[in-house]
């Protein structure tokens, strides 16, 4: 399968009091056509900033300071703001974590979905309305004709997220970025939303970049996974391998700290310490001071991403073939 999205060396910085702070540091990953790629990591590891960087939706104080984002072999980073507007919502759409605050409280649902179509397609008002009602039905909203005229505060969280999804797929985008789409929802609703995303992906032939901290969601949805830690990619692999044979000590810790019903363990394991903020990044491996397997080299030199096989790469000195020589 060809790649639809290729992120190469993407680096994003924010203006800080003591100079620029690098929040996303030379990220590389690819999304193949029709695939669901999971972007996993703890809060503050740079997942969301990565996704906002792809669509260049960063706040004023943040900017992409290096790297490239290829969408269908075209570099988005060099595009103008006007050109990016043509991409957003039309080619690449995005849904956000909190559907409660992501919809405008003073505009009716129908209008908020319809304006995406109005912006990107030259169609008449009645066609837009028809399309919006169809979209609402497609994402499983009952009484679509009535909901069209409702304001967001009259809908539940799950319904709002469905509206967000309808908005995102309105122009049949080839790529959907879903930033923690289920985090703010009840567990039962989470499953429904994930089901909906999966069926829409097949129906509309979309690729999805799914950002989450929830390995359960990953197991459910993703073909391949990119694990991020402190602004860097630490492991890239397919979902099966990730869950059965995690390589990076951080990934191992992440999986061990996920509750597991069948194992019946009394205490949940956790990774000691906390994710460092960008101004606390270590000189060597950023995970070194929390890592149970840390070696001397880990504290002094950042490991590169080691290619393990065609599918898997891992940023850890444990997988350095020439380990002996280096030490």
């Amino acid at each position: 399968m060809p790649n639809i999205l290729v992120v190469k060396g993407l680096t994003t910085q924010f203006e800080g009091e003591k100079g620029p702070i690098t929040v996303v540091d030379q990220i590389d990953f690819k999304v193949k056509k029709g695939e669901v790629l999971g972007l996993v990591g703890e809060s503050g590891c740079g997942k969301s900033v990565t996704s906002l960087s792809i669509l260049q939706l960063l706040d004023k104080n943040g900017k992409i300071s290096g790297g490239e984002v290829f969408y269908n072999n075209v570099n988005l980073v060099s595009k103008s703001e006007k050109e990016m507007r043509g991409i957003r919502g039309k080619e690449i759409s995005m849904i956000f974590q909190d559907p409660m605050t992501s919809l405008n409280p003073v505009l009716i649902i129908g209008k908020q979905i319809g304006e995406v179509i109005e912006e990107h397609e030259k169609v008449s008002g009645t066609v837009v309305k028809q399309k919006v009602v169809e979209l609402l039905k497609l994402v499983g909203i009952p009484r679509a004709e009535e909901i069209y005229y409702e304001y967001p505060h009259r809908l539940s969280g799950g319904m709002k997220q469905r509206v967000m999804i309808a908005m995102a797929i309105a122009c049949n985008p080839a790529m959907l970025i879903a930033d923690e789409p289920t985090t703010a929802l009840d567990v039962t609703i989470q499953a429904q939303i994930l089901d909906l995303l999966r069926s829409l992906k097949d129906e509309l032939d979309m690729s999805i970049l799914l950002i989450t901290h929830d390995l359960g969601v990953v197991a459910e949805m993703c073909d391949r996974v990119v694990v991020m830690y402190a602004g860097q990619v630490v492991e890239t692999t397919d979902t099966r391998t990730l869950l059965r044979k995690p390589r990076h000590p951080y990934t191992v810790g992440l999986i061990q700290s996920t509750p597991h019903q069948s194992k019946g363990e009394r205490r949940l394991k956790s990774i000691i310490g906390q994710v460092p903020t960008p101004d606390q990044f270590l000189q060597g491996c950023r995970f070194a001071d929390r890592c149970p397997k840390a070696m001397d080299i880990c504290h002094s030199t950042i490991p590169p991403l080691f290619e393990l096989d065609g599918q898997t790469s891992c940023r850890c000195w444990l997988y350095d073939d020439k380990k002996e020589e280096v030490i």
């Binding site: 939706l57 706040d59 507007r85 957003r88 919502g89 605050t101 405008n104 409280p105 003073v106 304006e115």
Partner: protein, 310 residues
């Protein structure tokens, strides 16, 4: 919606009732015999007795009030002591002039306030923002009568662009309206600016950007309506204030509105006219407030207009 308006009107009537008591008592709150004050020190005892009886001041307070409120409900606000014409006629004659001035002033303040507010927010922390803030600070701190006199000096006396306080035409309207507008615009501007900055950082603005919408749509369709929710309240209060008679500005420009009428009534101790003006201003104020509440609930769909009342 109907219920909402009915509730608002009912509570408004209660407030107007309160104002009527106050304006009625005014005549008794003034130290000394009101009749003697009205007639002056040279009045003969017969005149005093006559006027006292004419005004009904010899009856018990409650009876007096009952008579007063019954008359008011029937549209009889009494007769002006000075001109001998019905108070309501006097007021209604002046009111359109005040409305004219208030509406133009408000229009100017809304246009200046909202556009400068958006501009300042859009270019936050830039020189434009700082200039707007300076303008707002000046507008708040300059006394309106001083600004009025300054404008008259520059534009009427020096440049002769506008007439000096002698009519009620459009050209006469411009300077007083600008004076009122500039002063009122500063509050609207600051509210719009701060509201805009806050609204633009909301998640739904990011959603709008993620849809690929053009900037003016994001600014005017998505942001401005949310910003306007608090701004409309202030605009309404300002309109109500302006309609209540802009006493000072009307005096400076010799504008024949309610403010001038009220000042004249106070100077000539025309108590029925003072009472009537107060009550009338109260009714106007409350009506505007009800309208603002209704408008508010139209702009912000989250405001509950249900049967639970307000």
């Amino acid at each position: 919606m109907k219920q909402f308006i009915v509730n608002r009107v009912l509570s408004g009537i209660v407030v107007i009732f309160g104002i009527s008591i106050f304006s009625f008592l005014l005549i008794h709150l003034i130290p000394g015999d009101p009749v003697k004050i009205m007639l002056g020190i040279n009045a003969s005892p017969e005149q005093v007795v006559k006027l006292t009886r004419h005004l009904g001041l010899d009856k018990p307070l409650l009876v007096q009030y009952g008579q007063y409120i019954t008359n008011v409900i029937q549209g009889d606000f009494g007769t002006s002591l000075k001109t001998g014409r019905p108070v309501l006629v006097e007021i209604l004659e002046r009111f359109p002039e005040t409305v004219k001035l208030a509406v133009f002033g408000l229009l100017i303040s809304v246009v200046i306030g909202i556009s400068l507010g958006i501009l300042a927010a859009r270019f936050k922390d830039s020189i434009i923002d700082k200039l707007c803030t300076a303008f707002a600070t000046l507008g708040v701190s300059i006394p309106s009568f001083w600004l009025a006199i300054l404008l008259v000096m520059i534009f009427s006396v020096q440049l002769s662009w506008f007439p000096i306080a002698n009519g009620t035409g459009l050209r006469d309207l411009i300077l007083p309206a600008i004076t009122l507008g500039v002063v009122a615009s500063t509050m609207i501007m600051r509210l719009t600016r701060n509201g805009m900055i806050e609204v633009l950082s909301n998640d739904y603005i990011r959603t709008a950007r993620a849809k690929g919408l053009r900037n003016h749509l994001i600014l005017f369709r998505h942001a401005l309506r949310n910003v306007l929710i608090p701004v409309v309240t202030v605009i309404g209060l300002q309109l109500a204030g302006l309609l209540g008679g802009t006493v000072i500005i009307e005096q400076v420009f010799n504008w024949p509105g309610l403010g001038t009428l009220a000042v004249g009534a106070i100077f000539s101790r025309d108590f029925p006219l003072i009472q009537g003006t107060i009550l009338f201003m109260g009714v106007v104020y409350i009506t505007i407030n009800i309208l603002v509440d209704v408008l508010y609930s139209i702009i912000d769909p989250r405001v509950d207009m249900g049967t639970k009342g307000a």
